[in-house]
Subunit: 95 residues, 2 copies
């Protein structure tokens, strides 16, 4: 899978809500009501990651979840990251 | 809850296996077989965190889990962190 150029990434970010391109990865931070709700969302995301065979670099502190997506094998951001980012957005929007 | 001094923390770390005192928190990193196993362990830990009313600052990248524990309210490491660290150790040892 080919990595996207910065121009391609910037353009494709218009289709996502609240994601940035930072330090070579798509990045976002969400806040939830409390830890339990945050971890519930993480669990839903985890199942989708397994399904897509693609996994985030993510950090949780109580009700905050920061997610970074890139494709190690390609050394950058690929379509896999945009697909997973969209899935994550849909999960969070449905909460 | 009173925060421990560095001397107290160093001494109490002897009762734990593989934790360090780094940047004001108890810290450890574990590696598992794959993402699914890592997230299973995270789920078991998440339930115990809710029970103890104490939550980690944790980061997962595929099969790696880094956990940092401190007590924000006390501005340092307290008994709560050592209790949770021991619980996490027991969960991981039982896998």
């Amino acid at each position: 899978m080919q990595k996207y150029t910065t121009e391609e990434i910037t353009s494709k970010l218009n289709n996502l809500d609240g994601w940035d391109y930072t330090d070579g990865a798509l990045e976002t931070t969400f806040e939830f009501k409390n830890f339990k709700e945050t971890f519930c969302v993480m669990t839903r995301i985890a199942f989708e990651c397994e399904l897509q065979g693609h996994h985030p670099d993510w950090t949780n502190v109580y009700n905050t979840l920061t997610i970074r997506l890139n494709t190690h094998d390609a050394g950058g951001v690929t379509e896999k990251d945009f697909v997973l980012a969209k899935t994550i957005e849909e999960i969070i929007d449905s909460e």
